[in-house]
């Protein structure tokens, strides 16, 4: 067998390299801030900190699973084992050089996390999982370099803003004003949870990343940044997939060694 090393993503640009880096589960995302477990729970708003996890079904041990060779070998996640509800965290990524694009959240999430359900829409990306599993994943998503306090929003509802101009402080528009810029501290602060319910005390999520730095770490192609059309290798890759899909649809036997 030829030597094989996972390669994750094609392309010759810096943006493509960033994509490869974030998708690669062996790359440890840089931790930039610490959000306490309780604050994370409050930001998501599914339960009160310290409250027991609610369940959607009894723990698997009590439930007694049907005889199935797959259930016998596939280890359930801790949340599934306990019968946790399935809950979500949802992000909005500004088109202005946010670290991730919506699709990147899915590619990266499915490479790195087990038992997650990620949906991609233009202006929001929900990640759903059993509640205690979700909290672990959410921690990494909020504490590391892929979360920029100004251009990424934790938004469960009324997500609008990803394609709107940034405000005078460089923050993405948020109709519910969940986050604000604290000029004194120079930090972004959440005053409402992800669906817009006021928090009993504010949660600071850190300083916005400088524009120059964002341009370096982004996985977004932009004509005023790194343009997609300049990554010839990636364009050829996309065209290749399109060509192979189309020709295979005509006659798969004729697509050989291409």
């Amino acid at each position: 067998m030829v030597e094989y090393k996972p390669q994750y993503y094609p392309g010759g640009s810096n943006v493509a390299a960033n994509r490869r880096k974030y998708i690669d589960p062996n790359y440890k995302l840089r931790k930039l801030r610490t959000i306490s477990d309780d604050d994370l729970v409050r930001l998501m708003g599914h339960r009160v900190p310290g409250e027991a996890y609610k369940s959607v079904h009894p723990p698997l041990e009590e439930l007694g699973e049907p005889t199935c060779p797959i259930r016998e070998i596939v280890e359930p996640t801790p949340g599934a084992k306990a019968g946790d509800r399935i809950r979500y965290i949802q992000f909005t990524d500004s088109v202005y050089f946010a670290p991730l694009t919506p699709y990147m959240r899915a590619w990266m999430g499915h490479m790195r996390y087990r038992g997650v359900d990620i949906g991609v829409l233009s202006g929001r990306v929900p990640l759903e999982a059993r509640e205690r599993d979700l909290e672990k994943v959410a921690k990494e998503l909020v504490e590391t370099e892929i979360f920029d306090p100004a251009r990424v929003g934790i938004r469960g509802a009324t997500v609008h803003g990803h394609a709107l101009r940034l405000d005078e402080n460089g923050l993405m528009f948020d109709a519910l004003r969940r986050f604000q810029y604290d000029k004194n501290k120079g930090e972004v602060v959440y005053v409402k949870d992800q669906v817009g319910v006021p928090l009993d005390r504010p949660i600071y999520v850190g300083k916005p990343t400088p524009e120059e730095e964002l341009r370096k770490i982004t996985s977004q192609f932009r004509v005023d940044g790194e343009a997609f059309r300049n990554d010839k290798e990636l364009i050829e890759f996309v065209q290749r997939i399109h060509m192979l899909r189309t020709e295979a649809g005509f006659d798969p036997n004729k697509v050989k060694d291409l």
Partner: protein, 444 residues
């Protein structure tokens, strides 16, 4: 002489070798006697909810929920007399005294599993004979056995047939078949695809391997009926059925086992690529300036089959780890996205599974109504587009769910799934199809 050179090793649902070097055509719906039997049973087997008939007669609630005819009721002990009802029903349905008619009493008389004789179906052109013959025979049986008079006979008809013929199907009736009425099929040859995954998962008693196998058999057999699995595309579908649905060469089981404890969906993608490389299905084509290796294949049909097996394994890992069915559509999109980006080769069904996943995500996550994955089938408006490669994964996902949905598979399926799980060929289809393949392998 077989038409295609492919030979596969057959394995059971636990990854145990069953037989080596079996021509893939021995698994073809055109040749495999067990698949043909399964299709025959799908047409012949009908579920009767005798308890439902008794309740409908007692309350006058006939023809659907809240449709109650006040002042009309008949107290008949149908469940208590299920044995005699079954005997009379059998006699009524039989064409010859020793034909293949069967009526089995289940759950203490609450349900009946009826097998309509093949001769009745052979004498017509529509598969609806199964349901119509049983419904009509059941009416005659009840009227005769319980001396129902002319003034009450109409209530018996409504309790059994439901609101039909005011509705197209037997709305609120108590006789049901796996197959929907032909008017509900989206196009020609869709009948076998019009079976919700809830039924499939329950028939297989939530064994994910058997659920996927039965679903794949029904979907890929439908491909022959639809005009898809013929000519340039026959081998494409045969390999898909063998590798994805029937665990040929143990790929599905191996990929699941390899990632069972800690694997992510991405890990299954990588395992799939490794397996395709080590089996010589794909090979490096060239290196791009960035150092990325593009892969190619001289057998795209086989690559598709490997990718389809990987897709099922990825579903089993993701939905299995979360013990939740709702993750399935996300798997359909991103397994293929990641696989394409890993290799430079097209994903399962050449992009059609990805597209199906996008639609299914939308319609299974309360964004646009819809329902949970258990209601989906290959005839569904948002899941019809993949040619037999998506629905087996949905069936497996439903089988692996531990109870995360408001509408459970049991609630969606009603009595059909539970009753038809009594048919061994439907419940453990993988085993029967393997046995039949071995018995005919020399003759294909």
């Amino acid at each position: 002489m077989p038409k295609y050179p492919d030979k596969v090793n057959l394995y059971d649902d636990r990854g145990k070798l069953f037989e080596t070097n079996v021509p893939v055509e021995a698994l073809s719906p055109l040749k495999n006697t067990a698949i043909q039997k399964i299709i025959a049973y799908v047409k012949q087997c009908v579920a009767v909810n005798l308890e439902g008939v008794e309740k409908a007669l007692a309350t006058g609630e006939v023809g659907g929920k809240w449709c109650i005819i006040r002042g009309r009721s008949l107290k008949l002990d149908l469940v208590k007399n299920a044995g005699s009802v079954a005997d009379s029903l059998k006699k009524c349905l039989q064409v010859d005294p020793d034909d293949d008619t069967e009526v089995k009493v289940l759950k203490g008389g609450k349900h009946l599993l009826v097998k309509v004789p093949a001769k009745r179906l052979n004498a017509g052109v529509e598969y609806t004979t199964g349901a119509t013959a049983v419904a009509a025979a059941l009416c005659c049986t009840i009227i005769e056995n319980f001396n129902v008079n002319i003034w009450d006979a109409d209530l018996v008809h409504a309790a059994v047939w439901g609101r039909y013929p005011q509705t197209m199907e037997m709305l609120g009736g108590n006789v049901s078949s796996l197959l929907a009425v032909p008017q509900q099929n989206e196009g020609m040859g869709y009948a076998l695809r019009n079976i919700p995954c809830a039924h499939i998962a329950l028939i297989a008693k939530k064994n994910a391997m058997n659920a996927a196998a039965l679903s794949s058999i029904l979907e890929q057999t439908a491909m022959f009926e639809m005009g898809d699995a013929i000519g340039s595309f026959e081998r494409f579908h045969l390999l898909g059925l063998a590798y994805q649905g029937l665990n040929a060469d143990n790929i599905v089981y191996d990929l699941v086992k390899e990632n069972a404890k800690t694997g992510t969906l991405g890990d299954v993608v990588i395992s799939t690529v490794k397996r395709a490389l080590s089996d010589g299905v794909i090979k490096p084509l060239k290196k791009t300036p960035s150092g990325y290796t593009l892969y190619t294949t001289s057998d795209l049909n086989k690559w598709n089959a490997y990718a389809a097996a990987g897709l099922l394994a990825g579903t089993m890992i993701t939905c299995g780890a979360a013990r939740s069915m709702q993750h399935a559509p996300s798997v359909f999109i991103y397994f293929n996205d990641l696989l394409e980006r890993e290799t430079g080769l097209p994903g399962v069904d050449f992009g059609r599974v990805t597209g199906t996943g996008v639609e299914m995500s939308f319609f299974s996550h309360s964004i646009y109504g819809g329902g949970n994955p258990a209601v989906f089938h290959g005839n569904h408006i948002v899941t019809r587009h993949s040619k037999g490669f998506t629905i087996p994964c949905v069936a497996a996902a439903v089988a692996l769910d531990a109870g995360t949905t408001i509408y459970t598979p049991e609630r969606i399926s009603g009595v059909v799934g539970e009753v038809l799980s009594e048919v061994p060929e439907l419940r453990e289809s993988l085993r029967y199809v393997n046995e039949a393949a071995v018995s005919i392998k020399g003759g294909v």
